[in-house]
Amino acid sequence: MSTTLDRPRASADGTAAPARARRARGPTWRRAIRRDWQLYSLAVVPLLFFVVFRYVPMLGNVIAFRRFRPGGSIFGEYWVGLRYVKMFLADPTFWHVFTNTLVIGTLTLVFTFPLPIALALLLNEVRTRAVKRFVQSVSYLPHFLSIVIVAAMVMQLLSVDGSVNQLVRAAGGEAIPFLQRPEWFRSIYVSSEVWQTVGWGTILYLAALTTIDENLYEAARIDGANRWRQTWHVTLPGIRPTMVTLLILNIGTFMTVGFEKILLLYNPLTYPTADVISTYLFRMGFESSSFSYAAAIGLFEALIGVTLILTANAISRRTVGTSLW
């Protein structure tokens, strides 16, 4: 209350603030606010945003343990304990989509993590700058597309009359309705993911590559290292911090997989391989209106995600000394 009263005065002689701060024995909140109230005022609306659209929904996760009535309180009506958690733990479909998530997450990591490194190393060997620039520009392009457009392109290419099936026919095969076949879904998903991310993923590696000290190469050459050994012993260790950072980030998004893309590309026929935790909880929430049940699954997924990223971070700090924070 007193701070609000102090405000006009503080603004009137704002230039005297440093002198007052010097007199103070360690700044107190009151002094800080009196001195910086204009700065704090800039933070009010953003803080409101964080509280309303991030922290309230974070607390809203309690509906995983409470009975929820649509139109009722967003925090639910009364406690039901671990009822919904027990429900999904006993739900065979949940374990099925859990396995699918692990498989798709692993495949995505295995391909989308190393491929940008490989592409960056190859680009780094290109001597003609214009060519390098051109390849880079082209490879970044898919990153700028909406997922809807990517999904639509995938459908066009893989349709019965699409280019891929023309190749299949040319090779003497029968046209395959790829998107209706569960055994094809993972390959389709991972390749489209690679198509969209590989070029953009090279940016940080290419930047890291330019920071490697030329003298190291010089020294390696004097020691008789050929180019392959130079790459192995100088280049790769040089970009290791970048690799570790991106690996941790990739592991952090391991569980969420490409939810939006799967939602666009899958259909009941491909559920056996395509359905993942996030799409399952989406259907539970929005098609079956089991909000509490879906929230319980979402909370479980988020907890795994947080655990993964914290673990990966801790391991990398111990072993290679690089960490996100």
Partner: protein, 310 residues
């Protein structure tokens, strides 16, 4: 003969001098360069092919597409599908919505991001670690789809532009990039301006922002592209056709195509949808392709800045 050999060795010597990591290009290295060229060409072709194919399909005749004969070049060139899509008033309504949503969302996001980043960039602000933490925590603990939906619905934002614009108003990654940029600005200028009688708002508007033009432009692009491309929030919170952005228009067009409907393949409805899809894709992607060459380098520099601090 000898002259020729001489000249090649001279060329080699020149090459060696020009190459920063120059050791004698062994045969193995030359083979590698060849293989590398092939791989990179393949990367370019594979990246561009879907675009070329979609354009070819969009200009092609229905029957040629069904017969599976359209690849690089339109066959049975015609503009029927373009006329069809462009005469659909809903397409233009949705396109206009995308523009409006992008502009409003980007404007709000920029104001909030700049304000908060500026506060966070001042080391003397008391409680700064808490303010930074408030933002960073949301990166590690995402709010959750269901509670977010419940909240937006209970606030009565469904079927309004605010449901699309507000929940994504601050991207923490962008916020941190902006913050580290503000931190890199020289303090002396701001101090001088303060001595000249400018208050905090004046300093931010008249000194800091003009100094950050390139960075602000990068941030605007980051936000604008992500809002332009977004579909899921609209898909979740909007039920009215005339409020959809164009991405949801396209989504609804393709939604039927994966269904069991076209299983054995060639029902007329699905097939005619194929050309319409191609046209809609082309028309949606066009603005991005058009500005892409100009905005690309801003994006790259933005990512680097983020990584330095990140």
């Amino acid at each position: 003969m000898t002259v020729e050999r001489d000249s090649t060795t001279r060329a080699d010597r020149l090459l060696r001098a020009a190459r920063p990591r120059g050791i004698t290009p062994t045969r193995g290295y030359r083979v590698f360069q060849g293989v590398n060229a092939v791989i990179l060409t393949a990367v370019v072709v594979v990246t561009l092919y879907p675009f070329v194919n979609i354009v070819a399909r969009s200009f092609s005749d229905q029957t040629e597409i069904i017969a599976g004969r359209v690849n690089l070049w339109p066959r049975g060139f015609n503009l029927t599908a373009y006329r069809l899509v462009m005469s659909d008033p809903m397409f233009w309504t949705n396109y206009r919505n995308t523009v409006v949503y992008t502009v409003v969302a980007t404007a709000i996001a920029m104001v909030l991001t700049v304000c908060y980043a500026y506060v966070l960039s001042k080391p003397h602000v008391r409680g700064r670690p808490v303010l930074v933490g408030m933002a960073v925590v949301t990166m590690v603990f995402p709010p959750g789809l269901i509670p977010q939906y419940v909240l937006v619905t209970s606030l009565g934002l469904k079927n309004t532009i605010w449901a699309i614009v507000l929940p994504g108003a601050i991207n923490v990654f962008n916020l941190l990039v902006m913050k580290s940029f503000f931190e890199s600005l020289p303090v002396e200028l701001e101090e001088a301006a303060a001595v000249d009688g400018l208050n905090t708002y004046g300093v931010l508007l008249r000194i800091v922002l003009p100094l950050s033009k390139a960075m602000v432009a990068t941030m605007v692009l980051f936000y604008a592209v992500s809002f332009w491309n977004s579909w899921f929030t609209a898909f979740l919170y909007i039920d009215r056709l005339d409020l959809f952005p164009v991405t949801v228009y396209l989504r609804n067009l393709i939604a039927g195509a994966t269904g069991a409907g076209n299983m054995g393949g060639t029902s007329d409805a699905v097939q005619s949808a194929a050309t319409l899809q191609a046209v809609t894709i082309v028309l949606t992607v066009l603005p991005i392709l058009f500005v892409y060459p100009f905005i690309q380098r801003y994006f790259v520099s933005g990512v680097m800045l983020g990584a330095v601090k990140g």
